[in-house]
């Protein structure tokens, strides 16, 4: 049961990573690429982490997985902001 859950969650995560990568490669300009990347990364990594939690040996290991996701969210969102603002400054 938990194996099935892991499989479904990780596959869904991989799908989001794949979609994000396709967006990164195919979208026309930096802002849209940023959009594709940040959505895919946050959701994709979140789902992979969710799928891995039942497989963690200890509650501490599960907590570490969640912390990894949270840190990726914080830094990903901030970097996207920074890149976006730098782009807007460059356009003016």
């Amino acid at each position: 049961m938990s194996d099935l859950f892991s499989l479904v969650a990780i596959c869904a995560g991989v799908f989001f990573f794949f979609a994000g990568t396709v967006g990164l490669l195919r979208f026309p300009d930096s802002l849209t690429r940023l959009h594709a990347l940040s959505k895919a990364d946050n959701l994709g990594l979140g789902l992979v982490v969710l799928g891995l939690i039942p497989r963690a040996d200890t509650p501490l290991a599960a907590l570490k997985l969640v912390v990894v996701w949270a840190l990726a969210l914080v830094s990903g969102a901030s970097t996207a902001q920074l890149i976006g603002r730098a782009l807007r400054r460059g356009r003016k």
Partner: protein, 316 residues
């Protein structure tokens, strides 16, 4: 071909591809970004080689901190010079370089393919060290670093200090004793400040955790110290923290703390346990953690000072 072998092959191609892109990228910034990605991919290769400690160091120092160093250097270079870059080499030199590179890579590959199947190994000696003077350490890498090859590790810390001195001495004479230039010239973005405020405390905790578990699990003074250094640099980029003046006594004490404590304990080992860098039997683990704690401080201070560069005249 099994799934893992396919993954390995894909990873190998990706690493070589990103490296090639780094060499051939059009501008410096793109090359540096490529290099950071390359450092992270290389860390994955190290994980596959059962070397999580090396992977942590490569990701933190090889990819992250070196990336910050080169991005900062590129910006300072742009602000400095009229950017007259030397002419690209002629076709003849390029062909020569390509042939030489192919020759060296081919020879190395041949060596890799024909390595003896049972190589000479220091692993038994290191295992002995890990169960002897470095007793109680579950992580053989830490045992090697602090006990079996302790002299190397101590001197490597001295090299870090020498590098800091070298960087400082490159600055203008008039600037001696002042602080290095800040890592970012313009006013920082709100997002950068928020990132530093959220990330730095968490990173500090994780850095200390990685140092603490280093005795028994992957991690240690290098990895933890590099993480603390990175958090310091994030805080500097958000202008929450200014680089300290280089004549500050606290800064200098923090820089030499690691090797100094290491050396003192090593010499004490000469008297207490018989030879240099020997630790008294039942007391080894606390002593090693004591040394490592000061090494974390030195690394966490030395890396941001190396990235910050020489003291700034401020007269421009």
């Amino acid at each position: 071909m099994s799934v893992l072998a396919a993954l390995d092959l894909g990873l190998a191609l990706l690493v070589v591809g990103v490296a090639a892109w780094t060499v051939s990228a059009r501008n410096l910034f793109a090359a540096v970004v490529g290099y950071v990605a390359y450092g992270l991919l290389l860390a994955l290769v190290w994980v596959r080689l059962y070397a999580p400690d090396v992977a942590l160091t490569e990701a933190a120092v090889g990819g992250g901190v070196t990336g910050v160093l080169l991005v900062t250097a590129g910006k300072r270079l742009d602000a400095l010079a009229s950017a007259e870059i030397g002419a690209p080499p002629g076709r003849g030199l390029k062909i020569f370089a390509g042939a030489l590179a192919a020759l060296v890579a081919g020879a190395l590959a041949w060596v890799v393919l024909t390595l003896p199947s049972t190589p000479p190994s220091l692993a038994p000696a290191a295992a002995e060290a890990a169960s002897g003077p470095g007793a109680g350490l579950g992580n053989p890498i830490t045992a090697v670093l602090i006990s079996y090859r302790s002299f190397d590790t101590m001197l490597e810390k001295v090299v870090l200090i020498l590098a800091v001195l070298g960087v400082w001495s490159v600055g203008a004479d008039a600037a001696w004793g002042r602080a290095p230039a800040p890592l970012r010239k313009p006013e920082p973005d709100g997002a950068m400040i928020l990132l530093a405020q959220v990330l730095a405390p968490v990173g500090l905790l994780i850095g200390l955790h990685i140092f603490w578990v280093g005795a028994d699990a992957p991690g240690g003074a290098f990895q933890g110290g590099a993480l603390l250094a990175a958090m310091g640099m994030v805080a500097m980029m958000a202008r929450l923290m200014a680089p300290p003046r280089i004549d500050s006594r606290k800064l200098r004490l923090a820089l030499v703390a690691g090797p100094a404590v290491f050396l003192v304990v090593g010499v004490a080992g000469l008297m207490l346990a018989g030879h240099l860098f020997a630790y008294p039997q039942n007391f080894a683990k606390p002593l090693i953690l004591f040394i490592e704690a000061f090494m974390v401080v030195s690394i966490a201070v030395a890396l941001p000072m190396l990235v910050s560069g020489p003291p700034d005249g401020g007269a421009k």
